[in-house]
């Protein structure tokens, strides 16, 4: 099955591992993630005022691109892109006047007809059935305990979420299908600080400290998540956390597709090189990775 896929900017840089492992593990499930031609940055955050149309141009332009290739579904990996594309899609589907204005402004494009559905990759997997993932597991992630981290935009606001905003289970279900254990982290839905990482990294460090320490204290070996911004705040920013809280103990972070690739035995496509806290020692300790397989040095600035 071919699916048009929207990467978003950061999957081409810090999230390279996310994309690599996603495409490889999707292929095992007979899903071919085909990058949307001529996609544009969706704008990351959704515009929240009623009188702003300009910031909906980019998301709608992407939806036009989907219709241009005669498709009706668009899959994303990044939670932020998912939320923004979905929200703009809903806005124009419910407001024909706004859609008309946007279409007229983008007169060089075909008009958006409102026929595209935006999906998160996790939704696609759930629709397929996690038992299908279980069938493809070549290396059950036994002995690995994970703390699923949802963050914000995967489940909030409710109308645009993929699971229950108070008690989601989709990541838990996925992880269990791969053979790993999960813990119940009360901070699994707590915001990582999001865009504050640019001008208020100490705020992000405070939030990360709580989220990660809870995970470790409750017995998790690592976190699993679905967003490059959360990954940056919870992985790369561990350096800031350690600076502010010397008693902090580092903990590795995985994108959910990296765990899928690991469980499917796709050792060449894990994309772990850019994971800031090196997860290799953990994987070796749990005998989840062939010690002789090629390991590239992680890029730490």
């Amino acid at each position: 099955m071919k699916m048009p896929y929207f990467p978003g900017c950061s999957l081409k840089t810090i999230g390279e591992g996310f994309e690599k492992s996603a495409i490889a593990s999707a292929a095992i499930l007979d899903i071919e993630l085909e990058e949307l031609p001529r996609w544009v940055c969706c704008g990351t955050v959704s515009s929240l005022t009623t009188d702003d149309l300009m910031h909906h141009l980019a998301p709608v332009r992407n939806l036009i691109r989907v219709e241009d290739i005669n498709e009706t579904q668009l899959v994303t990996l990044c939670s932020v892109c998912y939320s923004t594309l979905k929200r703009s899609n809903a806005l124009v589907k419910n407001d024909p006047e706004k859609l008309k204005t946007l279409n007229q402004f983008m007169y060089r494009e075909n008009d958006y007809q409102g026929n595209v559905k935006v999906l998160h990759f996790l939704e696609l997997l759930r629709e397929m059935g996690f038992y299908k993932l279980k069938e493809k597991v070549k290396r059950p992630l036994k002995g690995l305990t994970l703390s699923p981290y949802y963050g914000c935009l995967l489940v909030r606001p409710k109308e645009f979420g993929i699971d229950d905003p108070e008690n989601p289970t989709i990541l838990q279900d996925l992880v269990k299908a791969l053979g790993a254990d999960v813990i119940d982290n009360p901070y699994q839905l707590k915001c990582c600080g999001s865009y504050h990482t640019v001008d208020k990294p100490n705020l992000v460090a405070d939030l990360g400290y709580k989220i990660l320490t809870y995970a470790r204290n409750l017995g998790a070996d690592a976190l699993v998540l679905s967003c490059p911004l959360c990954a940056f705040n919870l992985d790369n920013r561990q350096r800031e956390i350690k600076r502010q809280y010397p008693d902090f103990i580092e903990i590795p972070i995985f994108y959910f597709t990296q765990l899928m690739a690991l469980a499917f035995g796709l050792d060449e496509d894990l994309g772990l090189e850019l994971n800031y806290i090196d997860p290799m020692p953990l994987l070796k300790e749990k005998l989840l990775i062939d010690p002789t397989s090629l390991i590239k040095e992680p890029k730490i600035e």
Binding site: C9, K12, T13, R38, V40, C41, G43, M54, H55, L57, A58, R61, F105, M106, R108
Partner: protein, 239 residues
């Protein structure tokens, strides 16, 4: 008067009405915007350059009577039409980032590092609409955000740095500066190098050809016919 077609003569005399900075003038229809200004008595000291569609100095905006739409062109390349509202843009204020090309790494993020304001792009496509060279400006700014230097270089290849995109961008980005940096990085670090050229330059530096050249120079003074003969009979390697 030999060979003059009477119909052609009428064509040259056809006049159109244009509005130059608000004032109405009648100018011959075959003139371009620059020449129309000069016909009306204006003299350019800025906003003018090669007059050949290459330097980007005369980029201008114009409208038509009773039409709200804004149009863009190089003044030296655009023929006047009846009802044009004209002006000249003497200069586009923009600053190039300071960098030493030799010290830059062709990492994808270097464009965002030197021009972080490209993160403000809203993909509105106004820049593309403003480009007189019909380049896909929005696409190359988006490629710059993604870090795809080669794509930026390819899409911005024909950019003449006229500045219209920068004047129109609501996010206050100067796309042509970003394109220029990408092309420089591409040419220096990414494009396949012409190995034979480098080898030849090294040979020249090593004075491999000096003696031969000196001999030919002497021969040119003494016996130019001999030199010509040597040239005509030279061995040409094919393939």
């Amino acid at each position: 008067m030999r060979g003059v077609n009477l119909e052609e003569k009428t064509e040259t005399e056809k006049m159109v009405r244009v509005y130059i900075m608000g004032r109405e003038f009648e100018v011959p229809a075959t003139l371009n915007i620059v020449k129309a200004f000069e016909y009306a008595g204006y003299r350019f000291i800025r906003g003018i350059g090669c007059r050949g569609g290459y330097c980007g100095a005369c980029a201008t905006v114009y409208r038509f009577k009773d039409d709200y739409r804004l149009n863009f062109a190089l003044a030296c390349q655009k023929a006047v039409e009846d009802g044009m509202y004209l002006t000249i843009l003497p200069f586009v204020p923009a600053e190039k980032a300071k960098y030493d090309l030799n010290k830059l790494k062709p990492r994808g993020t270097v464009l965002l590092e030197l021009y972080p304001e490209i993160a403000r792009c809203v993909a509105c496509n106004t820049c593309t609409k403003a480009c007189p060279q019909e380049l896909e400006v929005m696409d190359y700014v988006q490629a710059a955000i993604r870090g795809d230097i080669e794509e930026v270089a390819n899409l911005s290849f024909d950019c003449i740095q006229c500045g219209l995109c920068a004047m129109r961008c609501p996010a206050e980005i100067v796309p042509y500066n970003v394109g220029q940096l990408a092309r420089r990085l591409y040419g220096k670090y990414i494009a396949p190098q012409a190995k034979l050229t480098y080898e030849r330059v090294e040979e020249i530096h090593a004075c491999v050809f000096d003696e031969e050249l000196d001999n030919y120079i002497e021969l040119a003074k003494e016996d130019i016919e001999q030199l010509k003969k040597i040239y005509v009979e030279r061995e040409i390697k094919v393939g």
